[in-house]
Each structure stands twice: as C-alpha cells, then as structure tokens.
C-alpha cells in the first residue's frame, strides 16, 4: 500500500472518520453529497487540517506528524488557486524551487511538465489569461512538479463547462494513468468518478457508506444517494428466497436471497398502466403520480405510493396514457429487470 490512512476529524457539528488504503498507481475517488467531508479528508491528507485522531502512512512512513510543506503530496484545488501574480511557468516552477531546485532547473522541470499537458505555448501567460481547462492543466502540472507520492484532486472538473469537461476529463485520465503514486480524487459527479477512478469510496456524513469498483457500485448501490447518482430505483428490504419484502410490497427477483437485501431497477424498466394489467410482470403496485418532467428525449415520471420510484417513458407513451400529476396508476417491473443483492 502506498497510502494507508485512518482520518478522524472532529468538528463541532461534524465528525469525519474514514479509513483509506490506496495502492501505487491506483486512483480512488471520494464521492459524496455536499458537506459529506470529502474536502476535509483531502485537507487532512495534505496537512492543511489537523487530524483529531488516526494516522497517515505513505510508503510505510508516518505522514501525519509532518507539517504540510514537508509532505510529499501534490494537491489540485477545486478552483485551482493558481498564483495570480506568477506566469503559468512560474506557477509550475514554484514547487521545485521550494524543494531546493535551482531557478533554471525548476524552470526546465516546469517547461517539460507544461509540454506534457500540452501548454508549452502558454508558459508565459498569467492565470487570468488562461481558460478554465488550461488553468486546470497548469494546476495539475504544478501539483505533479513536486514529484509527489500522493496526488490529491478536489473536484478537478467542477469549474469547467460540459464541453471542455469532456476533453479535460480524458486528458486527466491519461495523466493519472502515467502517475505511479497514489491518487485520491474528490468529486460529486458520478461520471467523473466512473471515468477517472479505479475504485470509488462513497462518503456520506463523514463515514464511508460504500466502496468498490465503479461498475460494481453503479450496479449495486447501497444508499439512496448512490442509487440516484447512478439513476436507479433502490429499496432495502428483507429477502425470503426469490422475494424481497419492501414495506407492504414483495418484489420477485431472480436472485435467491435471505435476510436484509437490496433490490434495484432502472427507471426505464418500469411499465405504467391506467388499469390493472393482467400479464406476466410479477411486480405490480398501485401508485400516485407525483410529478412529470422531461428527461433527455424521454419523460421521467415520479411515483408515490407503497414505494417512491422514478419511471422513464417515451413522450409517445405519455401522450397515450394521458398522465397528470395526482392520478392513480399501476406500475410493474419484470423480475428479470430487477437486481437484488445482500444488504
């Protein structure tokens, strides 16, 4: 393990307590809602916030006893915090200079890194003259210039527009792949996390609620937050063979489970009927329409009832069914479309 940490930070109204292990070359994404403690965790790793307890070990050596400027850590801040009075080159050269390199040496390192992120042409530009994407790449180069063993990125893509974001995301992906230290990335965009990370850690309210490979987390969300993030309906119930009891409903699933279990299904997998259908779908319940909104090319219907659910239908279906909020309706999901797993 490159990084092995237990981070405990106590604040008046908030406690962070998470354990974190990152292998060399691995990229771990911390995902979570606003105020979950993601930034606090990064700051604790960087030495900008004191630990109330726990430890941080990097390559086997304790890190939490050292001040921020003596940790082999590179950090990319949410809004980059490029020094406004220095050129892009001098921003990148700042770290090597602080770590003892001569001026010309530091500049050489900086120029090489700017070259690598494709910004050699902007070396002399001041940060205010850089676009968001360019600034992000300079910030990355600046963090990498100190040859860190641990790279920390706080919402590196949040300040970019959707267009730039796509490009910068793949660029970042490439740079992270080249980096052989541990990387911890904070984001609240699931797509960023999926694309960039080898492993997701979902933090809610200062504690880890789920972790695993991106695809695994996406397929088997364990909290409402994660389910919404990946666009699934999720319920927690009690398994009893091929049925999972959720409140007054019992979902039929193909998996055989006993004890506490989750059942998840996609909003597109739900079918709606004006009258009680008489067909194969095993999971059928009556619901009330809570709201209707456009969702991409489709329409998303919010259902209330024994369980709350999202349903995606086509505009044509909407017109056929003539749905309005407040209306009672039947909803069904085929057992084969559900996915159940132990809670």
């Amino acid at each position: 393990m490159t990084l092995d940490a237990r981070l405990i930070v106590n604040r008046p109204a908030f406690t962070l307590d998470i354990a974190l292990e990152v292998a060399p070359g691995e990229v771990v994404a911390l995902l979570g809602p606003n105020g979950a403690g993601k930034t606090t965790a990064l700051r604790a790793l960087a030495g900008l916030t004191a630990l109330s307890g726990g430890h941080i070990a990097l390559d086997g050596r304790p890190l939490h006893t050292r001040p921020a400027d003596q940790r082999p850590v590179g950090m990319v801040f949410q809004d980059y915090l490029l020094f406004p009075h220095l050129s892009a080159l001098d921003n990148v050269a700042f770290g090597p200079r602080c770590r003892g390199a001569s001026r010309s040496e530091a500049r050489r390192t900086a120029a090489a890194l700017l070259e690598r992120v494709g910004l050699a042409a902007h070396a002399t530009a001041k940060p205010r003259r850089l676009s968001g994407g360019q600034a992000q790449r300079v910030a990355l180069a600046r963090a990498l210039a100190v040859e860190p063993r641990l790279l920390l990125l706080d919402e590196p893509l949040a300040a970019l527009d959707a267009h730039t974001r796509l490009e910068i995301r793949s660029g970042l992906r490439r740079h992270l792949a080249d980096f052989d230290g541990a990387t911890v990335l904070v984001t609240h965009d699931p797509l960023d996390a999926m694309v960039l990370a080898d492993r997701l850690i979902v933090v809610e309210n200062g504690a880890i609620v789920q972790q695993g490979a991106p695809a695994e987390v996406a397929r088997r969300p364990r909290t409402d937050y994660v389910a919404r993030l990946v666009g699934l309906n999720l319920y927690r119930g009690l398994g009893d063979g091929a049925r999972i009891k959720v409140g007054e409903l019992a979902f039929s699933t193909i998996e055989q489970l006993d004890g506490p279990a989750f059942v998840a299904f996609s909003p597109a997998a739900v079918a709606l009927y004006r009258t009680r259908p008489d067909g194969s779908p095993r999971n059928l319940w009556q619901a009330v329409i809570d709201g209707i909104e456009r969702h991409g090319d489709n329409v998303r219907v919010h259902l209330d009832g024994p369980v709350a659910a999202f349903v995606d239908i086509t505009p044509a279906a909407l017109a056929d069914l003539d749905l309005t909020p407040g209306q009672r309706i039947w909803a069904s999901v085929k057992a084969t479309e559900t996915h159940a797993y132990p809670a």
Partner: protein, 268 residues
C-alpha cells in the same frame, strides 16, 4: 469574473448620499481654501526662493520616505504576526499598537527620549556600545516619524492580510513552501495593494509629523528642521510665511499622492 457594472445605467447618485459627501469634502477642503485666500501671493515667489524652504522640504520628503521604509520593514511583519499567528493576548497587542495614535505627539517625543535618549533605557546603551545618539540627528527625525506613523501601516496591512484569500497560502504550503517562502512569494505579492495603501497613509502622517519630532529630535536647520517645524516657528512671527510653507508642503504631497494613489487603490 464579475463584470464591472455600467454606471450610466445605475441611476443618479442619491442626494441623501451626495449632500453629506459634498459637505464632508467641503469640510476637508475649505480650510485649505482659507489658507489659499490668506496666502501672500505677491511675495510668494520670493519666499519660495529662500534656500531654507527647499532645505526643509527636502529633509521632510527624505525623512518621511525613510520612515515609511522603516515602518514597512518592521510593520509588515508585525501585521503578519497579528493576522496569522495565534498569539495569546492578541487583542491586547493590537490595542497597544494604537498607542502612538492616542498619545499626544509631544508626550510621544518625551517617551522616546526616555527610552532612546542619551540617558534613556536603551539610548544609554546605544551610546556606550555604538557611540550612536539619536536625538538632534536626522536619524532621530526618522525614528520620531516612524513611531507616530507605524500604527497606520500596521492596521491597514493587518486588514489586508485578513481579507486576503488564505487558500493561496495553503496551496503554496502543499508545494513545499516554508512559512517564510509563503510570505515572501505568495502573501506579500497578493496583499501588495493593501501594503501600498498603508504606506501612503503612513507617509502622509510622517510628512505632517510635528510634536514628536521636535521633542525627540529637536529643530536645527538642515538636520532636523522638517517643514512642519518650519511652519510652526514661522507661525510665531509671520503667519503669512507659515501659510506659504504649509501650502508648499500640501502641494507637494497632493501632487505625489494624486500621481500614485489610484493605481494602488484600484488594483484588486
């Protein structure tokens, strides 16, 4: 990022603000008009040509500038300590910094004599160890001016430091910068406008300093007689001459400040 609002569309400034503002301006500027009216214009050129005037003016500008430099060297670190280091009793220290502001300048001068004079706590030792005496020297003028003017610098710079975005300093720390490097290469460039504004206040105050200077450094043409001292003495015998000297001092400082201030105040 935020676009500069366009003032043409912003509506006329309201009278309830404009009237007191103009009153305030008049209050500050009218006395100057009084001086201008009373100034002995016909004899003005002759009076200005007197070598002592130029001498006093030069001395004033030189000492005020050196005093400002001294205040910068000592005051900026002090402001930094107040803003960035968790001192016990910081509130008391900050209140003590304002002491020279409240102390009547003449008493300030006496206090300086008690400490830095020939028989003073430290002055004694300065003289025996280094043969340095401050009273009656140009260096003494600088000391007196710096004493009186430093609080303005410290308070302005502390305000600027508190208003500055600390996260740049954190970013520098993660890049391996020690606190000194952070201060030198990040903090200072970022608060430069605030430091400049403080230096302007400090310089203006030093330029007008009278009581502490005459008490601590005395009054001798060429070495310690600055413009305010010349003005005061002229007032004893020839009020017109005093007015001329004051106007010269004001004109020079207004020209210098008008030439410099906007750049400092408007840079973010």
């Amino acid at each position: 990022m935020s676009a500069a609002p366009d003032r043409r569309l912003a509506g006329r400034p309201p009278w309830v603000l404009v009237v007191p503002a103009l009153l305030g301006l008049a209050f500050l500027v009218l006395p100057l008009a009084g001086l201008l009216i009373r100034a002995p214009w016909p004899t003005l050129p002759a009076r200005l040509a007197e070598p002592q005037v130029l001498e006093a003016l030069r001395l004033s500008l030189v000492t005020a500038t050196i005093a400002t430099a001294v205040c910068l060297v000592l005051g900026v670190p002090l402001a930094w300590m107040l803003a960035r280091v968790d001192l016990p009793g910081r509130r008391l220290v900050r209140a003590l910094v304002t002491v020279p502001l409240v102390l009547p300048p003449v008493v300030g001068g006496v206090a300086l004599l008690l400490v830095l004079g020939r028989r003073g706590l430290i002055g004694q030792w300065l003289e025996s160890a280094f043969g340095v005496t401050l009273p009656f020297t140009t260096a003494g003028v600088v000391v007196a001016e710096a004493f009186v003017a430093m609080p303005f610098l410290v308070i302005s710079v502390e305000g600027a430091l508190r208003a500055a975005d600390r996260r740049y300093e954190e970013a520098a720390a993660t890049l391996g910068a020690s606190r000194w490097t952070v201060f030198r290469r990040v903090t200072l460039p970022l608060v430069a406008p605030g430091v400049m504004a403080g230096a302007v206040l400090c310089w203006a105050r030093a330029l007008g300093e009278f009581g502490a200077t005459i008490t601590f450094a005395g009054n001798f043409p060429g070495t310690t007689r600055t413009m305010p001292l010349a003005v005061y003495l002229a007032l004893e015998t020839e009020p017109e001459a005093a007015i001329v000297l004051s106007l010269v001092l004001l004109a020079v400082s207004v020209i210098i400040l008008a030439g410099l201030r906007d750049r400092w105040v408007t840079s973010p």
